[in-house]
Protein backbone atom coordinates (compact mmCIF):
# COMPACT_ATOMS: atom_id res chain seq x y z
CA UNK A 1 0.00 0.00 0.00
CA UNK A 2 1.24 3.48 -0.83
CA UNK A 3 0.09 6.84 0.54
CA UNK A 4 1.07 10.26 -0.65
CA UNK A 5 2.05 12.71 2.10
CA UNK A 6 1.89 16.41 1.25
CA UNK A 7 4.02 18.70 3.37
CA UNK A 8 4.08 22.48 3.76
CA UNK A 9 7.19 24.11 2.33
CA UNK A 10 8.58 24.85 5.77
CA UNK A 11 8.84 21.12 6.48
CA UNK A 12 10.05 19.99 3.08
CA UNK A 13 13.73 20.46 3.97
CA UNK A 14 13.32 17.83 6.66
CA UNK A 15 12.22 15.34 4.01
CA UNK A 16 15.02 15.85 1.56
CA UNK A 17 13.45 18.94 0.01
CA UNK A 18 10.34 17.24 -1.30
CA UNK A 19 6.82 18.41 -0.51
CA UNK A 20 5.33 15.18 -1.84
CA UNK A 21 6.37 11.85 -0.35
CA UNK A 22 5.24 8.36 -1.22
CA UNK A 23 5.10 6.37 1.99
CA UNK A 24 4.37 2.69 2.46
CA UNK A 25 3.12 2.21 6.01
CA UNK A 26 3.14 -1.13 7.78
CA UNK A 27 -0.49 -0.76 8.81
CA UNK A 28 -3.67 0.97 7.75
CA UNK A 29 -4.02 3.80 10.27
CA UNK A 30 -2.71 7.34 10.36
CA UNK A 31 -0.54 6.37 13.34
CA UNK A 32 1.09 3.65 11.23
CA UNK A 33 1.73 6.13 8.46
CA UNK A 34 3.27 8.73 10.81
CA UNK A 35 5.41 6.03 12.44
CA UNK A 36 6.83 5.14 9.05
CA UNK A 37 7.34 8.80 8.19
CA UNK A 38 9.18 9.39 11.49
CA UNK A 39 11.37 6.34 10.94
CA UNK A 40 12.44 7.73 7.57
CA UNK A 41 12.69 11.35 8.70
CA UNK A 42 13.04 11.69 12.50
CA UNK A 43 13.15 15.49 12.57
CA UNK A 44 10.01 15.65 10.44
CA UNK A 45 8.32 13.18 12.73
CA UNK A 46 9.06 15.33 15.77
CA UNK A 47 7.65 18.44 14.13
CA UNK A 48 4.33 16.70 13.57
CA UNK A 49 3.98 14.73 16.82
CA UNK A 50 5.34 15.07 20.36
CA UNK A 51 7.08 12.26 22.21
CA UNK A 52 3.78 10.83 23.45
CA UNK A 53 2.77 10.32 19.83
CA UNK A 54 0.09 12.99 19.80
CA UNK A 55 -0.20 15.36 16.87
CA UNK A 56 0.99 18.75 18.03
CA UNK A 57 -1.69 21.23 18.97
CA UNK A 58 -1.11 23.63 16.10
CA UNK A 59 -0.54 21.00 13.43
CA UNK A 60 -3.48 19.84 11.35
CA UNK A 61 -3.52 16.55 9.46
CA UNK A 62 -6.03 15.86 6.70
CA UNK A 63 -6.73 12.42 5.25
CA UNK A 64 -8.31 12.77 1.84
CA UNK A 65 -9.37 16.26 2.81
CA UNK A 66 -10.85 15.47 6.21
CA UNK A 67 -9.34 16.92 9.39
CA UNK A 68 -8.53 13.87 11.51
CA UNK A 69 -9.43 15.73 14.70
CA UNK A 70 -13.01 15.39 13.55
CA UNK A 71 -12.71 11.80 12.45
CA UNK A 72 -10.80 9.08 14.28
CA UNK A 73 -7.61 10.97 15.07
CA UNK A 74 -4.54 8.77 14.85
CA UNK A 75 -6.80 5.75 14.39
CA UNK A 76 -8.18 7.19 11.15
CA UNK A 77 -8.03 4.63 8.37
CA UNK A 78 -5.67 5.47 5.53
CA UNK A 79 -6.50 3.66 2.32
CA UNK A 80 -4.17 2.67 -0.47
CA UNK A 81 -3.67 5.72 -2.68
CA UNK A 82 -4.85 8.19 -0.03
CA UNK A 83 -3.51 11.71 0.23
CA UNK A 84 -2.44 12.86 3.70
CA UNK A 85 -1.79 16.55 4.02
CA UNK A 86 0.07 18.19 6.91
CA UNK A 87 -0.62 21.89 7.47
CA UNK A 88 0.18 24.40 10.19
CA UNK A 89 -2.98 25.72 11.79
CA UNK A 90 -3.92 29.39 11.92
CA UNK A 91 -1.94 30.41 14.98
CA UNK A 92 0.89 32.67 16.04
CA UNK A 93 1.43 36.37 16.27
Amino acid sequence: MSVQVVLPGVLADLAGGSKHLDVEPAGTTLADLLDELAARHPLLGRRIRDETGQVRRFVNVYVDGDDVRFTQGLATEVRDGAEVQVLPSVAGG
Binding site: L43, R46, R47, D50, E51, T52
Partner: protein
Protein backbone atom coordinates in the same frame (compact mmCIF):
# COMPACT_ATOMS: atom_id res chain seq x y z
CA UNK B 1 39.22 40.01 23.49
CA UNK B 2 35.60 39.97 22.40
CA UNK B 3 32.58 40.21 24.65
CA UNK B 4 29.57 38.29 23.34
CA UNK B 5 26.01 38.94 24.38
CA UNK B 6 23.43 36.35 23.33
CA UNK B 7 19.89 37.71 23.16
CA UNK B 8 16.99 35.25 23.07
CA UNK B 9 13.65 36.69 22.02
CA UNK B 10 10.16 35.54 21.23
CA UNK B 11 11.03 35.40 17.55
CA UNK B 12 14.69 34.53 17.30
CA UNK B 13 18.21 34.98 18.59
CA UNK B 14 20.58 37.88 18.17
CA UNK B 15 24.30 37.94 18.97
CA UNK B 16 25.96 41.21 19.96
CA UNK B 17 29.73 41.61 20.08
CA UNK B 18 31.97 44.24 21.55
CA UNK B 19 35.67 44.55 20.78
CA UNK B 20 36.25 47.78 22.68
CA UNK B 21 35.80 46.82 26.30
CA UNK B 22 31.99 46.88 26.07
CA UNK B 23 31.69 50.48 24.89
CA UNK B 24 30.04 49.72 21.55
CA UNK B 25 28.26 46.66 20.22
CA UNK B 26 27.68 45.14 16.82
CA UNK B 27 24.46 43.18 16.63
CA UNK B 28 24.21 40.15 14.38
CA UNK B 29 20.91 38.45 13.60
CA UNK B 30 18.30 37.27 13.54
CA UNK B 31 19.31 33.68 14.00
CA UNK B 32 16.58 31.06 14.32
CA UNK B 33 14.08 33.60 13.02
CA UNK B 34 10.48 33.05 14.06
CA UNK B 35 11.49 30.59 16.77
CA UNK B 36 11.01 31.51 20.39
CA UNK B 37 14.31 31.38 22.25
CA UNK B 38 13.35 31.28 25.91
CA UNK B 39 16.66 29.84 27.07
CA UNK B 40 20.13 30.63 25.81
CA UNK B 41 23.59 29.83 27.05
CA UNK B 42 27.12 30.12 25.71
CA UNK B 43 29.30 27.26 26.87
CA UNK B 44 32.87 28.56 26.87
CA UNK B 45 34.33 25.40 28.38
CA UNK B 46 34.66 23.85 24.95
CA UNK B 47 37.44 24.33 22.43
CA UNK B 48 34.95 26.26 20.35
CA UNK B 49 32.26 28.13 22.30
CA UNK B 50 28.88 26.45 21.94
CA UNK B 51 25.73 28.54 21.79
CA UNK B 52 22.85 26.51 23.21
CA UNK B 53 19.30 27.64 22.56
CA UNK B 54 16.09 26.29 24.02
CA UNK B 55 13.72 26.97 21.17
CA UNK B 56 10.04 26.66 20.45
CA UNK B 57 9.14 26.24 16.80
CA UNK B 58 5.68 27.51 17.43
CA UNK B 59 3.61 25.09 15.45
CA UNK B 60 6.29 22.43 15.44
CA UNK B 61 7.24 22.06 19.10
CA UNK B 62 10.20 22.73 21.39
CA UNK B 63 13.77 21.44 21.32
CA UNK B 64 17.39 22.36 22.00
CA UNK B 65 19.61 23.57 19.19
CA UNK B 66 23.27 24.43 19.27
CA UNK B 67 25.86 26.24 17.22
CA UNK B 68 29.61 25.70 17.42
CA UNK B 69 30.36 28.52 14.99
CA UNK B 70 28.60 31.39 16.75
CA UNK B 71 25.39 31.14 14.81
CA UNK B 72 26.67 30.44 11.31
CA UNK B 73 25.07 26.99 11.45
CA UNK B 74 22.77 25.18 13.86
CA UNK B 75 22.42 21.56 14.86
CA UNK B 76 19.76 19.54 16.61
CA UNK B 77 19.44 15.94 17.63
CA UNK B 78 17.30 13.89 15.24
CA UNK B 79 15.08 12.39 17.88
CA UNK B 80 15.08 15.44 20.13
CA UNK B 81 17.63 16.48 22.74
CA UNK B 82 14.97 16.38 25.45
CA UNK B 83 12.34 13.65 25.25
CA UNK B 84 10.21 12.53 28.13
CA UNK B 85 10.47 8.76 28.62
CA UNK B 86 7.41 6.90 27.47
CA UNK B 87 6.37 5.81 30.97
CA UNK B 88 5.96 9.43 32.10
CA UNK B 89 3.18 10.13 29.61
CA UNK B 90 4.53 13.69 29.44
CA UNK B 91 5.66 15.83 26.53
CA UNK B 92 8.17 18.65 26.56
CA UNK B 93 6.41 22.02 26.44
CA UNK B 94 9.28 24.51 26.75
CA UNK B 95 12.96 24.68 27.63
CA UNK B 96 13.30 27.37 30.28
CA UNK B 97 16.92 27.10 31.28
CA UNK B 98 20.20 25.78 29.87
CA UNK B 99 23.03 25.82 32.36
CA UNK B 100 26.53 24.49 31.68
CA UNK B 101 27.99 22.87 34.77
CA UNK B 102 31.35 23.88 36.22
CA UNK B 103 34.73 23.66 34.50
CA UNK B 104 35.65 20.30 35.98
CA UNK B 105 32.48 18.76 34.52
CA UNK B 106 33.09 19.97 30.97
CA UNK B 107 30.42 18.00 29.14
CA UNK B 108 27.66 18.38 31.69
CA UNK B 109 24.81 20.76 30.87
CA UNK B 110 21.60 21.08 32.87
CA UNK B 111 18.20 21.97 31.48
CA UNK B 112 15.17 23.19 33.39
CA UNK B 113 11.94 22.55 31.53
CA UNK B 114 8.16 22.72 31.41
CA UNK B 115 6.42 20.68 32.66
CA UNK B 116 8.38 20.87 35.92
CA UNK B 117 11.44 18.77 35.18
CA UNK B 118 15.20 18.80 35.39
CA UNK B 119 17.45 17.24 32.78
CA UNK B 120 21.15 16.45 32.67
CA UNK B 121 23.31 16.15 29.58
CA UNK B 122 26.69 14.42 29.60
CA UNK B 123 27.48 15.28 25.97
CA UNK B 124 27.47 19.05 25.94
CA UNK B 125 23.74 19.47 25.40
CA UNK B 126 23.13 17.12 22.46
CA UNK B 127 21.03 14.70 24.53
CA UNK B 128 19.60 14.95 28.02
CA UNK B 129 18.40 12.44 30.61
CA UNK B 130 15.44 13.14 32.86
CA UNK B 131 16.48 13.58 36.49
CA UNK B 132 14.19 10.94 37.92
CA UNK B 133 14.75 11.91 41.52
CA UNK B 134 12.90 15.17 40.94
CA UNK B 135 10.31 13.82 38.52
CA UNK B 136 9.34 11.12 41.02
CA UNK B 137 9.29 13.49 44.01
CA UNK B 138 6.01 13.17 45.90
CA UNK B 139 5.57 16.94 45.91
CA UNK B 140 5.56 17.23 42.12
CA UNK B 141 1.80 16.84 41.60
CA UNK B 142 1.27 19.84 43.88
CA UNK B 143 3.52 22.21 41.93
CA UNK B 144 1.07 24.45 40.13
CA UNK B 145 1.91 26.23 36.88
CA UNK B 146 2.50 29.95 37.17
CA UNK B 147 1.18 32.37 34.57
CA UNK B 148 3.91 31.41 32.14
CA UNK B 149 3.62 27.69 32.77
CA UNK B 150 5.00 25.32 35.38
CA UNK B 151 8.72 24.90 35.04
CA UNK B 152 12.14 24.50 36.54
CA UNK B 153 13.67 27.82 35.53
CA UNK B 154 16.81 28.02 37.67
CA UNK B 155 19.57 25.43 37.96
CA UNK B 156 22.58 26.11 40.17
CA UNK B 157 25.17 23.31 40.29
CA UNK B 158 27.77 23.70 43.02
CA UNK B 159 31.40 23.57 41.93
CA UNK B 160 32.76 22.07 45.12
CA UNK B 161 30.19 19.43 45.98
CA UNK B 162 27.40 17.26 44.59
CA UNK B 163 24.81 19.88 45.49
CA UNK B 164 22.38 21.15 42.88
CA UNK B 165 19.89 23.89 43.70
CA UNK B 166 16.84 24.53 41.55
CA UNK B 167 13.98 27.01 41.63
CA UNK B 168 10.51 26.59 40.19
CA UNK B 169 7.37 28.58 39.48
CA UNK B 170 5.60 27.29 41.33
CA UNK B 171 7.20 24.87 43.72
CA UNK B 172 9.90 27.02 45.27
CA UNK B 173 13.51 26.13 45.94
CA UNK B 174 14.66 22.52 46.12
CA UNK B 175 18.13 21.20 46.82
CA UNK B 176 19.79 17.90 46.02
CA UNK B 177 22.99 16.94 47.79
CA UNK B 178 23.59 13.94 45.54
CA UNK B 179 23.53 15.36 41.98
CA UNK B 180 19.81 14.89 41.63
CA UNK B 181 19.02 11.52 43.13
CA UNK B 182 17.05 12.98 46.05
CA UNK B 183 15.53 16.39 46.70
CA UNK B 184 14.17 18.39 49.59
CA UNK B 185 12.41 21.75 49.68
CA UNK B 186 14.49 24.69 50.96
CA UNK B 187 11.99 27.52 50.83
CA UNK B 188 11.21 28.19 54.50
CA UNK B 189 10.75 31.90 55.02
CA UNK B 190 9.77 32.70 51.44
CA UNK B 191 6.17 33.87 51.23
CA UNK B 192 3.39 32.58 49.00
CA UNK B 193 0.57 35.10 49.16
CA UNK B 194 -1.52 33.05 46.74
CA UNK B 195 -1.72 30.05 49.09
CA UNK B 196 -3.91 29.53 52.17
CA UNK B 197 -0.75 29.22 54.28
CA UNK B 198 1.29 32.25 53.22
CA UNK B 199 4.49 30.74 54.62
CA UNK B 200 4.44 27.15 53.37
CA UNK B 201 7.25 24.65 53.35
CA UNK B 202 7.10 24.55 49.55
CA UNK B 203 4.93 25.70 46.69
CA UNK B 204 6.21 29.26 46.42
CA UNK B 205 6.41 31.09 43.12
CA UNK B 206 10.10 31.87 43.21
CA UNK B 207 11.01 33.81 40.08
CA UNK B 208 14.81 33.52 40.18
CA UNK B 209 17.63 32.53 42.51
CA UNK B 210 21.28 33.56 42.33
CA UNK B 211 24.34 32.53 44.34
CA UNK B 212 26.50 35.07 46.16
CA UNK B 213 30.13 35.49 45.12
CA UNK B 214 31.20 34.81 48.70
CA UNK B 215 30.06 31.21 48.68
CA UNK B 216 27.20 28.89 47.78
CA UNK B 217 25.61 28.93 51.22
CA UNK B 218 24.41 32.49 50.56
CA UNK B 219 21.77 32.91 47.87
CA UNK B 220 19.23 35.52 46.89
CA UNK B 221 15.70 34.98 45.59
CA UNK B 222 13.41 37.31 43.67
CA UNK B 223 10.00 36.00 44.63
CA UNK B 224 6.49 36.62 43.39
CA UNK B 225 6.33 39.41 45.99
CA UNK B 226 9.42 39.70 48.10
CA UNK B 227 13.16 39.54 47.80
CA UNK B 228 14.88 37.11 50.15
CA UNK B 229 18.31 35.92 51.22
CA UNK B 230 19.53 32.69 52.71
CA UNK B 231 22.85 32.24 54.50
CA UNK B 232 22.49 28.52 55.03
CA UNK B 233 21.93 27.07 51.55
CA UNK B 234 18.20 27.55 51.70
CA UNK B 235 17.63 26.25 55.20
CA UNK B 236 15.93 29.53 56.04
CA UNK B 237 15.24 32.71 54.11
CA UNK B 238 14.77 36.27 55.36
CA UNK B 239 13.34 39.29 53.61
CA UNK B 240 15.76 41.82 52.18
CA UNK B 241 13.14 43.85 50.35
CA UNK B 242 13.26 46.89 52.62
CA UNK B 243 14.71 49.75 50.68
CA UNK B 244 13.27 48.70 47.34
CA UNK B 245 10.43 50.78 45.87
CA UNK B 246 8.39 47.60 45.29
CA UNK B 247 9.25 44.00 46.04
CA UNK B 248 8.00 42.31 42.85
CA UNK B 249 10.15 41.48 39.87
CA UNK B 250 11.51 38.58 37.90
CA UNK B 251 15.33 38.49 37.65
CA UNK B 252 17.97 38.66 40.33
CA UNK B 253 21.63 38.70 39.38
CA UNK B 254 24.75 38.51 41.53
CA UNK B 255 28.29 39.69 41.05
CA UNK B 256 30.77 36.96 40.10
CA UNK B 257 33.46 38.71 42.17
CA UNK B 258 32.06 40.89 44.93
CA UNK B 259 30.35 39.18 47.89
CA UNK B 260 27.11 40.84 48.89
CA UNK B 261 26.48 42.45 45.50
CA UNK B 262 23.25 41.79 43.60
CA UNK B 263 20.87 43.53 41.20
CA UNK B 264 17.09 43.43 40.74
CA UNK B 265 14.58 45.21 38.50
CA UNK B 266 11.52 46.18 40.58
CA UNK B 267 8.11 46.01 38.93
CA UNK B 268 4.74 47.15 40.27
CA UNK B 269 2.61 44.09 40.98
CA UNK B 270 0.58 42.11 40.82
CA UNK B 271 -1.41 42.95 37.72
CA UNK B 272 0.56 45.86 36.25
CA UNK B 273 4.05 44.45 36.10
CA UNK B 274 5.70 47.61 34.86
CA UNK B 275 8.44 49.72 36.44
CA UNK B 276 7.24 52.19 39.09
CA UNK B 277 5.99 55.31 37.24
CA UNK B 278 7.33 53.76 34.05
CA UNK B 279 10.94 54.46 35.07
CA UNK B 280 12.98 51.40 34.20
CA UNK B 281 15.73 51.14 36.78
CA UNK B 282 18.06 48.60 38.30
CA UNK B 283 18.47 48.45 42.05
CA UNK B 284 21.77 47.27 43.48
CA UNK B 285 22.88 46.11 46.88
CA UNK B 286 26.48 45.98 48.03
CA UNK B 287 25.71 44.60 51.49
CA UNK B 288 23.70 41.44 50.80
CA UNK B 289 20.39 43.20 50.77
CA UNK B 290 20.72 45.28 53.93
CA UNK B 291 20.35 48.35 51.72
CA UNK B 292 19.58 49.08 48.08
CA UNK B 293 20.49 51.90 45.71
CA UNK B 294 18.72 52.87 42.54
CA UNK B 295 21.17 52.88 39.65
CA UNK B 296 20.86 52.81 35.92
CA UNK B 297 21.51 56.17 34.34
CA UNK B 298 20.65 55.78 30.69
CA UNK B 299 17.70 53.47 31.21
CA UNK B 300 14.46 54.97 29.91
CA UNK B 301 12.04 57.08 31.96
CA UNK B 302 8.95 56.10 30.02
CA UNK B 303 9.18 52.37 29.68
CA UNK B 304 5.86 50.64 30.29
CA UNK B 305 7.49 47.30 29.85
CA UNK B 306 8.95 44.49 31.93
CA UNK B 307 12.15 42.49 32.32
CA UNK B 308 11.69 38.73 32.33
CA UNK B 309 13.47 36.38 34.73
CA UNK B 310 16.33 35.50 32.39
CA UNK B 311 16.48 38.83 30.62
CA UNK B 312 19.07 40.25 32.98
CA UNK B 313 22.56 38.86 33.44
CA UNK B 314 26.06 39.72 34.54
CA UNK B 315 29.33 39.02 32.79
CA UNK B 316 32.47 37.90 34.59
CA UNK B 317 34.48 41.03 33.89
CA UNK B 318 35.82 43.46 36.49
CA UNK B 319 34.07 45.82 36.79
CA UNK B 320 31.06 43.61 36.23
CA UNK B 321 28.90 44.20 33.20
CA UNK B 322 25.13 44.13 33.62
CA UNK B 323 22.75 43.46 30.72
CA UNK B 324 19.01 44.10 30.66
CA UNK B 325 16.50 43.12 27.97
CA UNK B 326 12.91 44.28 27.92
CA UNK B 327 9.63 42.98 26.63
CA UNK B 328 9.51 45.87 24.20
CA UNK B 329 12.62 44.61 22.48
CA UNK B 330 15.36 46.80 23.89
CA UNK B 331 18.69 45.59 25.27
CA UNK B 332 20.87 47.77 27.48
CA UNK B 333 24.44 47.16 28.62
CA UNK B 334 26.37 48.54 31.54
CA UNK B 335 30.14 48.19 31.83
CA UNK B 336 30.25 49.77 35.28
CA UNK B 337 28.19 47.50 37.50
CA UNK B 338 24.88 49.07 36.61
CA UNK B 339 25.75 52.72 37.18
CA UNK B 340 25.22 53.68 33.54
CA UNK B 341 23.62 51.88 30.62
CA UNK B 342 23.74 52.30 26.89
CA UNK B 343 21.46 50.84 24.24
CA UNK B 344 22.75 47.72 22.49
CA UNK B 345 19.68 46.99 20.37
CA UNK B 346 16.07 48.10 20.03
CA UNK B 347 12.95 47.09 18.13
CA UNK B 348 13.67 43.42 18.69
CA UNK B 349 10.87 41.02 19.62
CA UNK B 350 10.22 40.55 23.36
CA UNK B 351 13.53 39.79 25.01
CA UNK B 352 13.32 36.57 27.02
CA UNK B 353 16.93 35.76 27.88
CA UNK B 354 20.36 37.38 27.76
CA UNK B 355 23.75 35.82 28.51
CA UNK B 356 27.17 37.50 28.32
CA UNK B 357 30.54 35.82 28.00
CA UNK B 358 34.09 36.62 26.99
CA UNK B 359 35.29 34.84 23.90
CA UNK B 360 38.84 33.51 23.94
Amino acid sequence: MTDLLAIGTRKGLWLARSDDDRRTWTVDGPHLLAQEVAAVSVDTRRERPRVLAGIQYGHWGPTVMWSDDLGASWQETDHGAIRFPEDTGAALARVWQLRPDTDDRPDVVWAGCEPHSLWRSADGGCTFDLVRGLWDHPHRPTWEPGGGGGAVHTVLPDAASDRVTIAMSTGGVYVSEDRGDSWEPRSRGISAVFMPDPMPEYGQCVHKVAVDAGGPQRMYAQNHFGVFRTDDSGGSWTSIAEGLPVDFGFPIVTSPHAPGTAWVVPLVADMQRVPPDGRLRVHRTRDAGESWSEVGTGLPDRAWTAVMRDAMCADDRDPTGIYVGTRDGCVYASADEGETFSLVADHLPDVLAVRAVRLP
